[in-house]
């Protein structure tokens, strides 16, 4: 492009980091208001029980306590927490009071609260609340939950919905298939663990309310709070100040947010609640948790004939904002980058007496990618093929794009050949295979495994029309506006609410690139429904691919307006002007021109605008994507497995991603590194574990093992760049790619190391004990 100053693609450090890193910003918990009261919630210590009585009278007598309430005190006004994604017409959506009134259905569900002058008094008073429970049987296992005799989580039973997709002749695909692979994989339950715990402040002024929340979705939250509490939407302002990570866990309308509003309304005083880490482990929605039954029919040369996926997805005790939709995003991703004759997908949503699940980095797509990529390595082993050769046999060739997949999505672009070739080269694939052979031959106690993941994902959530077809309750557009200030500085207002992604930097680069203003002259405003009134917020790797494109559109509108005004200033016809970054000038006479700053000042003065031209360069744009975007890439992992102890060490990890046009390579690298850490964490370390009574065992970070930098290898990352053809910037999104791709690469490497022992699978997380047992069981079976 000749009409830019090449800000796109610059490796800029992030504007927002100075205030974030030095603690100059306000997190929600830092907010202080006159008369602020502090809330503490009492949570059920039981997985499933009838509430016989709740006595808060002793708590009310404690020093510093202003009020204490049980669910009964809110029964008339608290409504039900919303589920915005009723995926089938007959879905069971149970009533979900923010504070339980009759029954608790997971450990951590709120049963009472204390409001006090400080956090200490609130915590002390919480211990004085007396709750009488009658224990009910927990429901922990999804398969058992669906049997007739199972105890019920809800009166309507333990099945929430069944959702089916089918395309092609499955019967024919499996009939006489030379190879049929059948596998059951378990996606363990994960706890998001964003660095900043959740926090809420609600301040009432007369009949208006301001809510600060560590949320990803201030705009959606405002609508939902209005619907749940009955407070008119225009009397609610929601602010997401700087937010320290979300990973989907703050894509939610939480009980604590609703109760903060109700308490502020009841007491007429501002209230604050900040969760502790152990409280968060119990009560923040969890992620993943699926049982995947996968069948693949293939020809002897590896060509895929059919794929059948039968999922059980654990909803937990209730349906939260998008709980039922999460596993269904996988419906479009199990077929991944592969061509096949037939595809069948069925998902059953199951209630258990566990913390509700919902979106967690990738949301349905990592689960699907794990299923198919793990199955592809297994199929390669079954066929005695190299796993990369099996993929080449089946993937959509670069020449075949655009390509409509068996699940009905049209992939606009991709180059699996290029990404794979680069990954193989960086990895030293052939040398590592030789070393693997040597270790196998010598019986080395430390075996080497190589895992492959050639993933794609759907980003840029989402075309509103598609969301409508999927019964989602909202659209998928995004909004941006530009305010051209008289001094030539630029204010950008975006509906995309950042919580660590670096929007302020990337958005500044887009504006600097399009309008030709200095990067430093752009300020980005977001995360406040009063400042940025329209938005669909941040999740699903949508910010750049939807919000960034909206901003691009707003820039184009500014340029178009400026043209008319510049023509008036230069006393020429607009047709005679040409745009170079930051300046309209007369074609053939480039000395005659006006910079965008000069035009902005002239517009502000408005002394001499052409007739009928409004005195404003400002613009608004709302972008609704015509399609999803489809980043892809090839990840290769080499893992050393100590067969004596079961310890896994990642020896090398190569990630070659194609996320389309890159606005800021430094931010993209950061997203990939963090994503890899999170995906590797699922493969090797993290699991929300419950005991037989349904108590969560991993309530602290001493029990729930998050890896630190020490535990992770140095990543080798690179990119190929195949621009998306469905948006003018060619961008695709990168927020989830690392997480989606890496889990199967690592598990495939572990299993590959152990195939000579007869090991077919190791359940995640592949802890040393699990690996050691898998070897022992395989050896026992071989005897």
């Amino acid at each position: 492009m000749t009409d830019t100053v090449n800000e796109i693609g610059k490796r800029r450090t992030r504007k927002e980091d100075a205030r974030l890193i030095t603690g100059q910003t306000n997190w929600t918990d830092n907010i202080q208001l006159p008369g602020l009261l502090h809330v503490a919630f009492l949570r059920s210590p039981q997985a499933h029980a009838k509430i016989l009585s709740v006595d808060v009278s002793a708590a009310r007598q404690m020093p510093g306590v202003i009020a204490a309430y049980s669910g009964a005190d809110f029964a008339a006004e608290q409504g039900s927490l919303p589920c915005a994604w009723p995926v089938t017409p007959d879905i069971v959506i149970p009533n979900h009071p923010p504070m339980a009134t009759e029954e608790v259905r997971y450990g951590g569900e709120i049963v009472a609260c204390v409001v006090a002058r400080d956090r200490y008094a609130a915590a002390d008073a919480l211990e004085q609340i007396d709750v009488d429970y009658e224990s009910l049987p927990p429901v922990l296992d999804m398969e058992a939950a669906l049997t007739d005799g199972s105890p019920k989580v809800h009166e309507a039973g333990n099945k929430s919905f069944e959702w089916v997709f089918a395309n092609g002749d499955m019967e024919a695909a499996f009939r006489d298939a030379p190879v049929v692979l059948e596998r059951t994989y378990r996606q363990q339950r994960l706890i998001p663990c964003a660095m900043e715990p959740r926090a809420v402040v609600c301040a009432p002024v007369a009949d208006e309310y301001t809510l600060w929340s560590a949320t990803q979705i201030p705009h959606v939250l405002r609508v939902m709070l209005a619907l749940v509490t009955g407070i008119p939407e225009h009397k609610l302002r929601v602010i997401a100040p700087d937010v320290g990570g979300g990973f989907g866990s703050k894509l939610q309308v939480t009980a604590e947010e609703v109760l903060a509003v109700l308490l502020a309304r009841k007491l007429g005083r501002p209230v604050k609640w900040t969760e502790s880490r152990s409280e968060g482990n119990l009560a923040v929605h969890h992620g993943r948790d699926q049982l995947q039954r996968i069948r693949i029919a293939a020809d002897a040369d590896g060509r895929l004939r059919g794929l059948s996926v039968d999922l059980l997805a654990d909803m937990g005790a209730y349906l939260m904002l998008v709980t039922p939709g999460v596993p269904l995003l996988g419906a479009f991703m199990f077929n991944a980058i592969y061509k096949m004759d037939a595809y069948f997908f069925k998902c059953t949503g199951v209630f258990t007496t566990k913390t509700p699940t919902d979106a967690y980095r990738g949301a349905g797509r990592p689960e699907a990618t794990f299923g198919i990529e793990h199955a592809m390595d297994d199929l390669a082993a079954e066929l005695g093929m190299d796993p990369l050769a099996l993929r080449r046999r089946n993937w959509i060739a670069h020449s075949e794009f655009p390509y409509t997949t068996i699940s009905g999505l049209t992939y606009d672009s991709g180059n699996y050949e290029a990404a794979t070739a680069r990954a193989v080269e960086l990895f030293g694939y052939d040398d590592l295979r030789k070393e693997q052979e040597a270790r196998r031959a010598s019986g080395d106690p430390v075996q080497l495994g190589i895992g492959v993941s050639t993933y794609t994902e759907m980003c840029g959530l989402a075309p509103s029309r598609v969301l409508g077809q999927l019964a989602y309750g909202a659209g998928g557009w995004e909004h941006a506006s530009i305010r051209m200030l008289p001094t030539g500085k630029v204010e950008v207002v975006t509906g995309s609410s950042a919580h660590g992604q670096g929007h302020e930097t990337a958005w500044s680069q887009i504006v600097a690139d399009r309008l030709g203003v200095p990067f430093e002259d752009v300020r980005v405003l977001h995360g406040d429904t009063q400042v940025s009134p329209k938005g669909m917020d941040t999740y699903g790797s949508r910010s750049l691919a939807v919000g960034g494109v909206a901003l691009y559109g707003a820039c184009e509108k500014v340029i178009a307006k400026a043209k008319v005004i510049a023509a008036g200033m230069l006393e020429v016809s607009p047709e005679d002007l040409e745009w170079t970054p930051g300046r309209w000038s007369v074609r053939g006479d480039p000395d005659q021109g006006k910079t965008i700053a000069e035009i902005a000042l002239a517009t502000f003065a408005a002394h001499n605008l052409p007739d009928g031209v409004e005195p404003s360069l400002d613009s608004d744009a709302t972008y609704d994507p015509e399609s999803f975007s489809f980043p892809h890439g090839t990840h290769l992992c080499a893992a050393e497995v100590d067969t004596e102890t079961g310890q896994v060490r990642i020896r090398s990890y190569v990630a070659v991603d194609d996320v389309g046009t890159v606005v800021n390579p430094l931010i993209v690298d950061g997203q990939v590194h963090g994503g890899l850490a999170q995906g590797i964490a699922q493969a090797l370390y993290e699991e929300a574990a419950y005991d037989a009574d349904g108590n969560l065992l991993t309530t602290t970070l001493a029990d729930y093992l998050m890896p630190s930098a020490t535990d992770l290898p140095t990543f080798a990352t690179d990119r190929t760049e195949t621009p998306a053809t469905t948006n003018p910037m060619g961008v695709k999104g990168v927020g989830e790619a690392g997480t989606i791709a890496s889990t199967p690469a690592v598990v495939n490497a572990v299993v590959d190391a152990l195939r000579p022992f007869g090991v077919r699978d190791v359940e995640m997380p592949c802890t040393p004990q699990r690996v050691w047992r898998a070897i022992g069981q395989a050896r026992g079976a071989a005897r």
């Binding site: 956090r119 200490y120 609130a122 915590a123 002390d124 211990e127 502790s276 880490r277 152990s278 409280e279 004596e644 102890t645 310890q647 090797l684 370390y685 574990a689 065992l697 991993t698 602290t700 001493a702 029990d703 093992l705 998050m706 890896p707 630190s708 020490t710 535990d711 802890t767 040393p768 004990q769 050691w772 047992r773």
Partner: protein, 286 residues
Amino acid sequence: MIPATFEYVRPGTLSEAVQALAQGGDDAKVIAGGQSLLPLLRLRLAYPDLLVDLGALDELRGVREVGDALEIGALTTHYAVTRDPLIREHCGLLAAAAGTVADPAVRHRGTVGGSLSHADPAGDLPAVIAALDATLLASGPEGERSIAAADFFVDYLTTALRPGEVLTAIRVPKLGPGWGYRYEKFHVTAQDWAIVGVAALVRRDNGQVAEARVGLTNMGTVPVRARATEEAAAGSEASREALTAAAAHADEGTSPPDDLRAAADYRRHLSRVLTTRGLCAAANVV
């Protein structure tokens, strides 16, 4: 999380500390680096009425030579232990093990005395000082006394310290010439506690193992010595085969826990594998 209310004193002398503790009785707790106690308070798993902060007692900090032993003040941090030249020269095992405790932040605040007094069998230092045949020095209302490491750890999170007693120092005999050592810590992530740890010491005499000592972390409610392995190794050839055979007895007499991280049988297996590795490394056997 928010701890319950407690009183706090920061005495200027050891005798004041002992007095404050004695007056506080069962409801008083010593706090040093706070790396074990503070999480318990914040999770409301402990409700002491009084915290006696030893932080001002500088005489409890640092390392000195006392004849054939080193005396390590109870307030010496893990970080200081890893860097101390005397410890590195004479009791390198302790420096090596202290360097594996949790993460740098914890090692800079956490103290040797705190770690031993907490007596978590998953802690790294208890098994190490057991293997080093160290002696613990305590000061209490009835004066000073010394307690052998083998007698110090009584049960899970329980020591032989009496109410009002403060652990003041650890006396560790210097390892003479010929000793090699290794702390084999097995954990899932770097910051996690040991699933099993093996503190191995071997004194070689040419091709023979003259003496071997093995302390086991997290193989029971207290740190244990693998006596059967020690006996089998003593006098044996310094070879991988002989040490592997000796290590096959490592879990004898232990009662390892069965928990979220590992089952007892896996811990037994690990103790044998890690003891083999620890002994071989300590004996410098390839």
